[in-house]
Symmetry: C2
Subunit: 321 residues, 2 copies
């Protein structure tokens, strides 16, 4: 026997999570199962991205309205960066935030909004990199942009004042950024936060199968990954940093959920980091799909508190506050 | 919508684990789907337990043969304890090991064998508690026995020299032991190891559904839990320590796998401990069913090394070795 045959089944909303999380799980699948355009039909990809981004942006309106600090967009060595400086702080730490969105979505206004939300969560100054994306700018454009901004940041701050944060596709870029920075001899950030990171573009992990359909937020992204790679090897360490030599990686916190399609990505990255002696912490939310509970549940706040504690531990404020 | 409808599907053996782990996953389901006897048919339960224990014991022969130190069985205040003292060590730490087996299996010779294997893993002196079990000795017999032996151990060692270890049903007893010891004002052990712990006998976690059949080692145990509880509330903190006030719990390492039926048990316990500020570490093995890969894969050894490192960190040898 080499394959498990699992019969059809009904999976109820679990009683083991908060009412807010139950409400999110009760919504059922939130991803429409739309067919991807042919890889070479740039116009179709642009249209798909536009529609999806508008949907995401409108879903973020309420969360953005709740955030005090507004992003200011500036050009950093040719790359758009949304900078959020929370008011009333003498905290000299800075977060380099790399947004999610499957390496094709959530640029522009969505990136600015997500940066504001991220800064609201960490309460730290945040640079959100509006990196270039396919179909017009495939690999290595996005990673190049992240490196460009990281180098610029190193001109403004000591590396031990910098925390690199990425979720989903942003977790791919965050990990790849650190690997490439190490390879290029740059000083590394004080800490790294990888939220349900897309560290394996080949999608070889087990939960790509076991959590298929169980994760109501995310479906496999192989076609999109091909669009991003544009002929480059999906298993190359800069495209799938899970397969990189991770020696010397900074302390890293990783988060996922038991229903997350990227649970395998997350736990494999945790083990890969631990295998080379990196201080790495894993947190897995009960029944959470990809990205948690849309920021709506106390579980999300709990993970946010773990991340702030981890950052304080590995990148304390110089004022000691 | 309140329920997810997941169609039937084939889950292949993942390429993301070692060849040894792939071989274990290729075996398919290892639990026969036998019907449980009626709760009041003690003789039928005794027979089922005898057959299962013989199967388990024969499967352990090879692993036991590889272990140097042999267990010596002694009576500790009326409770059978299998004591393993690894040769050539002046390590004064001691492991109180609580075996798994659904709270009904793996007493007697199987317990002695598991204690030897456990001691081979930690390389520390180990007391394996051969606690009483159903059908003849339901709750609170097993937990009483664990407390009895723990109290006796406190007479031989300072509590900061003691590590409590439990896997599966043993994780239930390990966590319940600590909660009850705390409630009774006893000093607590230096560290706790909970491997895929059965901390919720009500089986309310999400992976009891999502990993059903995906975990090839373990099926739900509700009937057995009823046998154990013998009319006591399954949700009582001494039966389901996940629901206990965990304040003051010692540093704890928890391990599970992405295919583990008890993944929810494990991650919920981790979060519950973290919520009250306990130092708690989570490790989740890619694609591992309940209990890992039968001790046969490098992944198992890797988790073993994490556990030894955690014990060394929180319960260092007094000689500093």
């Amino acid at each position: 026997m080499t394959t498990l045959n699992i019969p059809a089944r009904d999976i109820p909303v679990p009683v083991s999570v908060s009412p807010e999380a139950q409400a999110v799980l009760s919504m059922g699948p939130l991803t429409a199962d739309v067919p991807w355009p042919p890889l070479d039909d740039r116009q179709a990809w642009r249209e798909l991205i536009k529609v999806q981004d508008e949907m995401v942006l409108s879903s973020l309106t309420a969360r953005v309205a709740g955030v005090q600090a507004k992003p200011i967009t500036r050009m950093v060595d040719g790359v758009n960066v949304h900078v959020v400086a929370p008011p009333d702080t003498d905290d000299d730490r800075i977060v380099l935030d790399l947004h999610g969105g499957a390496l094709i979505l959530m640029g522009g206004s969505a990136c600015a909004a997500m940066t504001a939300i991220a800064a609201g969560g960490t309460r730290m100054a945040t640079w959100g990199v509006d990196y270039r994306m396919p179909p017009d700018h495939p690999y290595p454009a996005a990673l190049d942009d992240c490196l460009t901004v990281y180098r610029a940041l190193l001109g403004e701050r000591d590396s031990n004042r910098i925390v690199v944060v990425g979720g989903s596709a942003g977790g791919n870029l965050a990990a790849a950024l650190v690997v490439r920075a190490r390879d290029e001899g740059l000083p590394l950030p004080a800490a790294v936060v990888l939220n349900t990171p897309e560290v394996d573009l080949t999608e070889s992990g087990d939960t790509f199968t076991t959590n298929l359909g169980v994760d109501t937020i995310l479906s496999p992204l192989k076609v999109v990954n091909e669009l991003y790679a544009a002929g480059h090897d999906l298993a190359h360490p800069y495209l799938s940093p899970l397969f990189a030599d991770l020696t010397g990686f900074p302390p890293t916190i990783l988060t996922s959920g038991t229903r997350d399609l990227f649970l395998s990505n997350t736990v494999r990255m945790h083990r890969a980091l631990r295998r080379v002696g990196v201080e790495a912490e894993l947190h897995v939310l009960e029944a959470a799909p990809h990205g948690g509970f849309l920021g709506a549940a106390p579980e999300d706040a709990e993970i946010g508190a773990e991340i702030r504690r981890f950052i304080d531990q590995h990148c304390p404020t110089s004022t000691g506050k």
